[in-house]
Subunit: 885 residues, 2 copies
């Protein structure tokens, strides 16, 4: 028989690297215990037990006995007994998953209290008010978490009691008041749970453990895991720990401390605390917290102990730690530590500082930065030149700026977000139940809560701006309005928020691009030293090209020419499509002039670096009015008896549009098919590119031209179009006398191109994988159609792990891999890149590194992320290789 | 230095198997020469020379000298000299490609005549009229073919001469008349070609050879090659052969003879001839021909010689031969032989007869039948029960019946055909220039020409009905009308033609399916003995299922359920889509009842054979009114001030349709995605299938159920839907007590499914390749969009070899191959089939045999073709294997 699985570990038995077994919290409590730090004793029930519970709905065999055994040890260690009428052991029961899921799951404090043991607590502390307060908190929390009673009912009862007693604050209620409240609370339990509040502490413990197990599968936990791609199979551990009390008067308190500043990265302890408060008060933002520095004056001894502890932790973990502590009558207890979440700016600064401090090396620094996080540093901020009238200032809880419509609940935010509207979720404070609304919103604005409040933590994780604790903000969710100091906003009114400064402004404020910190370039420089993948940008204008170059782009991987067909050029393009032969010819001549100018700008901005220009890709009918709108116009004109010649003109246009319309334009006459059917357009574009390059070369510049033919599925398409393009190139070179060098290649964006890449490579100097289209055809998914229709359902039901248009799908990677192999078989040195949006997605970059592409190309603002992700992919490979050899 | 390529072969130097070098005509002239048959001497210029000419526009080096050399030998052999004033050598110059392209390229007869040598011809024959007639024919043909002068100009001059002389027939013109005509013809040449008619015979020969070379690339030849998939690179040979004359009076003649009847296959010589006529007169249908049997009385000696020759040829070639002969003053000369084209019925009968005669074995008989040809036997005919009033009767030139609008020229036929209209091309006689119109037409109706006329030969090849030589038909191409015996039809009026009986009827006649010949079942029985691929049918109704079974289908590979959602069920389906929860539920219940009835019918018709039923595939919005039409309706109602409640109702429907509309429905919410989003529809369908099967089983039948889930791209889709289906199946089995056996599988119709088939196979008992959709996504081609937009252009420019929706593309085959390998890796015995339309395409069937599928499935009428094609694939493989081992 296999060795029996160990389902319970005393804190002394665990280690920090056991988080998959003990959860993050349990593993770190064990680590701290073994470091000799002041951790109240306790034990951890493993994630394995939770998984058995998830599958069977019951404890695994033997768990009950093991809990009994560890409880007995805990009683022996503390000299107290659960439920004891003289000196009761009280415990907390907390969830702790392998990955932090802040606020997602449930916690019960003060467990072990009942009508008997509360007397023991009074006897031990001599503080009846404290004891009854602890008891009523326990009933309230247990009622809500374990017995699933609406929390508001308890809050209402407290409010009623305060009104009855004519007091304002909870702490103004006396021991007797609280004792009365306990009776009331038990009535609530009886009425709403349909059974008595369980007095038996062992039963309390069992129920609480099961409630934590169950909380793994509640909706908000599942939503969170979906967002952060945490597998459902990990399960949660349960930590049962001796209670210590931060609410035992003015020498007690509780708080959250970071070893460095999580917002700026400054090397200075940082956090919030509350005197005479318990547990979740700090995180929930119910009372306004004090900054940790104040503790030095208030409780200097405990403060000193805390600082020493933080120092030990940071040196031990070699990273910034995020801790929870409680001070019970002057004595410090550590209740949690973990590697702290941080803003991108802080992450960079901490990493660079730690390299300078000798704690970590450069490669480790590079690995420490979440590429996605860099995006925060690249988020827009208010235009400093804008004349901004600040409505209110709150806490700068998550950096970046956003503009959107005020909405007051998460469901509305989600609905409007799905309609493509930009919204600012505006709440008293967010809770885990608001998660879907936060995902949909551009930014978060709250009236309560600090920088470690739910809104702040989650928004930072999402890289969304958040202004929190904006005390002047009053929300009326019935009238659907909010007001700040007399200014009233209705739901749907536009506000701008700046999470970097905490400012809120009525109406839209122009936003400007961000400027990175000094550490930004340093870390990216280290990244560049180790990465193998090149990073280019997708840019269609000289401005974007310049910005991309500034961000470190090593060329342009995709310049789309269709954007150059819009705006004031649209009438010329329409003439080219609809005109007679002469008009077409004239339109092409006009386009030649303007396109040449475009290309001069882009090639100049990227002087000396390769610029891949894609010939026209979209179907021509995209440049004409829509079929439905024309049909309706004609119907209306007919109905109102419009002028006959105008009607005929409109009808004639309609007929042209009808002829050109397609039932599946994505799979229609576009890309190189246009080049075959209308060779003149591509010839004009090639001429414009080559004349631009020749002119630059004549002026002493160094244009590096790559001409890309899109949507090839047959090698013959490329052979024919390449031939036509080469003829134009030769003509321009001959005529201008400028020996412009150019490459001709193609996009691999159709499965047929991938599986016949050996044939296609005969006519291509480079392949650029167009992974957007390749994903569409590989799956048979139209991105436009599925995102509104069933993608959410698929992600929710975990039919796909992630949106394949964000992170490249393994099936699509297979085709990329096949194409690379076949392409290299024909041309060992063929240049291979990717220019789909996946090029800026870190997880996808890893795949592209692995299949051995030469470069990725992405939007300018994603270039830094791609550089970092490419470096991490190279470093991970090194680790894997050194492990496997 | 490599050995010099031999560009000219005397007939004695060639063989029948050299057709790629000498063309079909040249190779067979050589073979006949070496068999000792009476072939006028000559030589052949190779296809290689033609290819050099195509590329360079000039003769290959050395060709001129070789022609000179062979000409000299020919003069020596015949004792005549080209251009000789006493006894001139006259030659024909004919094209001859490796594959027969009847009438596609050019021929010049009587070459060598000029004002001097005509005198020699008179001297030799003593027949001035014959000599001048030959000379004027030569100028006419040379003018038209070599000098590109409009042929009508010469015809008009003849007509004028006949009017001037007051005669009706060409033969009524005297030697003097013809001599005068020669002067007129030379004037025509001078005026229209801008130069003199070349008198020098050596120059005539050079120009004629070059004209034949050039004719390889004329439009009608290119069109023909595209239709029959003949590579452009083959080139044509040129045959230079001593002239013999069928127009030397009443003991001379010319004709076409088949060794067996090409229409019925009867073992009896068959053909047409004309006395005192030359060359192309028979084929062109200018005079009405005599049946070959009449020759026995008219010229018994020549007839006997011809019969002996035909017998020698058939025994030698072991196949039915199609010959051209000329009788010059009683002596027979063979001018051509080739394996004869034949109707499907004839092909079958000849093959079976030849097996019985011991000429070939069964496998060779199976290989002899073009699968596509079988389609002719399966074409509809007039319903015998229909009350048909025959307008006219012509020759039954190509079997089958068709209904369509009368059109009078090929361009109109093509235009209307592209609009999806059915047309009957109605002509005096067709010419190779009409080819594109014949391709577009349902059938051909001509007033002139026999069974070997252009219209008849080409229509038979295409498997299209043709009524030829309908003497009463008069066409007025200016008024766009035709009339038969006083009945006038305008262009666009509907007629029905029956090419099996030669009848033509005004208006549409109901058509009935055909009944195959006895040889049909015999050959297919032999095919079944050797094929490895199973053949199933795609059928959605009990009638189709029964028909398919009759044709030998071994089950149903695809029963589409969406067809069962149309007709009088559409309102129920719309209620299911648009209704509230109750209405949806009710609609599903109603659909359950009718679907169950459908399935009982189909399963019963295929009792004991597997029936693969595909769950609902198309997007639901296909069952609702179209977006454009609703938008227009609403706009009109708004404009005309319609009733407010009706307007609101329409608007509300519009909003629903807007919400459901997709920009690329092919890539949208359909197939299994519907099953995930609306599980109730699939559950209803599975219940209907299983209840139908249970009911049949209870009644002693043997239903074999295969449930197919469409459009899977992710294994998880199939896992989830399979689970849901299995639950329903278990419930029905439990409830009915009938142990219905069923399989669950999926379509592989998306590239992602193909490249992850190992994962998908975990949840599938079978794969059915949906090659229509797989072709669409592999290429990124929307079939609806490309066929009207650029497919023709692609085929014309030879960017693709064939329409990938007709014959499966090699790139798509790669994905099928990958999927088969991966699927079998997971489940070695997984059943693999194909249910796209390619399943009935012989060339595709060969591919499917090669990748090792278990079966193909196609429309019922293609089942016999698929059986035959599968057998041929197996036999070809045997040949290949026995060659390679």
């Amino acid at each position: 028989m296999a060795q029996e699985e160990k389902f319970v570990y005393a804190f002394e038995e665990g280690r920090a690297d056991m988080k998959y077994v003990l959860g993050g919290k349990g593993a770190n409590l064990a680590e701290m215990t073994n470091l000799g730090l002041p951790v109240p004793p306790g034990f951890t029930i493993t994630t394995g037990a939770s998984n058995v519970f998830s599958q069977t709905g019951a404890y695994p065999a033997g768990l009950e006995a093991k809990v009994e055994e560890h409880l007995a040890k805990l009683e022996a260690k503390t000299g107290k007994k659960l439920g004891d009428v003289n000196d009761p052991l009280l415990v907390s029961v907390r969830s702790g998953a392998p990955f932090s899921m802040p606020g997602m799951m449930d916690t019960v404090l003060n467990l072990g209290l009942n009508d008997q043991s509360v007397k023991g607590l009074i006897a031990q502390t001599g503080d009846a008010r404290f004891a009854y307060d602890s008891y009523r908190r326990f009933i309230q929390m247990f009622g809500k978490v374990v017995m699933r009673i609406e929390g508001q009912l308890f809050e209402d009862a407290i409010k009623a009691k305060k009104v009855e007693r004519g007091v304002k604050q909870d702490i103004d209620l006396s021991a007797e008041d609280l004792q009365g409240l306990i009776g009331g609370f038990k009535d609530i339990v009886r009425r709403h749970a349909g059974r008595e509040f369980p007095e038996e502490p062992r039963q309390q413990l069992d129920l609480a453990i099961k409630a934590v197990f169950e909380s793994w599968n509640n909706k908000r936990a599942r939503d969170y895991r979906r967002l952060y791609k945490i597998p459902d199979t990990l399960g949660t551990a349960v930590n049962v720990q001796t209670m210590v009390f931060g609410n035992k008067g003015d020498t007690s308190g509780t708080g959250v401390a970071f070893t460095r500043d999580a917002a700026t990265g400054e090397n200075e302890a940082y956090g919030d605390y509350l005197i005479n408060a318990q547990g979740e008060d700090v995180v929930a933002g119910i009372r306004n917290t004090e900054p940790i520095s104040n503790l030095e004056n208030e409780l200097p001894e405990a403060y000193g102990e805390l600082m020493r502890t933080l120092d030990i932790l940071e040196k031990h973990y070699r990273d910034m730690c995020d801790t929870e502590f409680t001070i019970e009558q002057g004595k410090l207890y550590m209740l949690q530590t973990r590697v702290g979440k941080r803003t991108a700016a802080a992450a960079l600064r901490i990493a660079v500082d730690m390299v300078n401090e000798g704690l970590i090396d450069k490669n480790e620094a590079v690995m420490r930065i979440e590429p996605e996080q860099l995006d925060q540093l690249l988020h827009p901020r208010f235009d400093p030149a804008a004349d901004v009238k600040v409505l209110a200032t709150g806490l700068n809880a998550s950096p970046g700026a956003a503009v959107g419509k005020v909405v007051f609940d998460a469901d509305t935010a989600e609905e409007m977000g799905e309609r493509g509207e930009k919204v600012i979720l505006t709440r008293w404070e967010t809770t885990p139940d608001d998660l879907h609304g936060m995902i949909a919103a551009q930014g978060i604005w709250t009236s309560h809560g600090g920088k470690t409040s739910h809104a702040a933590v989650v928004a930072r994780g999402m890289g969304k701006p958040c202004v929190a604790g904006c005390a002047l903000l009053e929300i009326d969710t019935v009238k659907r309005t909010c007001s700040v100091d007399g200014t009233t906003l209705r739901e749907g009114d536009i506000v701008s928020i700046d999470g970097t400064t905490g400012r809120v402004v009525v109406g839209p404020v122009p936003l400007v691009p961000p400027t990175p910190t000094p550490e930004f370039d340093m870390i990216l420089g280290w990244a560049d030293e180790v990465r193998r993948l090149g990073v280019r940008a997708n840019a269609d204008t000289p401005e974007d090209a310049a910005k991309a170059r500034e961000f470190g782009a090593e060329g342009i991987g995709l310049a789309r020419t269709e954007h150059m067909f819009l705006g004031d050029r649209l009438p010329i393009v329409q003439k080219m499509i609809l005109g007679n032969e002469d008009e077409k010819h004239q339109a092409l001549e006009e386009l030649l002039v303007v396109q040449k100018k475009d290309f001069i700008g882009i090639l100049k901005a990227m002087d000396g670096l390769p610029v891949t220009i894609r010939l026209l890709d979209p179907p021509l009918h995209e440049f004409l009015p829509g079929l439905v709108e024309l049909e309706v116009e004609v119907a209306k004109m007919e109905c109102t008896g419009a002028d006959a010649s105008k009607l005929e003109e409109k009808r004639s246009l309609l007929r042209r549009v009808q002829l050109m319309s397609e039932s599946n334009p994505m799979l229609g006459l576009r890309g190189c098919r246009l080049g075959i059917v209308n060779p003149e357009i591509y010839k004009m574009q090639v001429r414009a590119i080559m004349e631009a390059a020749a002119e630059l070369k004549a002026g002493g510049n160094d244009p590096v031209v790559e001409i890309m033919i899109p949507l090839v599925s047959l090698d013959e398409e490329l052979r024919v179009l390449r031939g036509e393009a080469e003829a134009v190139c030769a003509e321009v070179i001959e005529r201008t006398g400028q020996p412009v060098e150019y490459k001709i290649g193609t996009m691999i964006e159709l499965p047929r191109a991938a599986v016949t890449a050996d044939e296609i490579a005969k006519h291509a100097e480079f392949f650029s994988f167009g992974t957007n289209d390749l994903t569409q055809t590989t799956f048979g998914f139209s991105r436009d159609d599925i995102e509104g229709k069933f993608l959410a359902r698929y992600l929710e039901r975990k039919i796909m792990a992630s949106n394949p248009f964000e992170t490249i799908d393994p099936g699509v990677v297979k085709l990329v891999d096949i194409a690379c192999d076949l392409g290299r078989k024909t041309k060992p040195n063929i240049k291979l890149g990717v220019c789909g949006e996946h090029g800026g997605d870190p997880a996808s970059v890893k795949h592209f590194h692995e299949v051995g592409l030469d470069y990725v190309s992405c939007s300018p603002y994603r270039v830094p992320l791609a550089r970092l992700a490419a470096a991490q992919a190279a470093l991970s490979e090194k680790v894997t290789k050194s492990v496997s050899t």
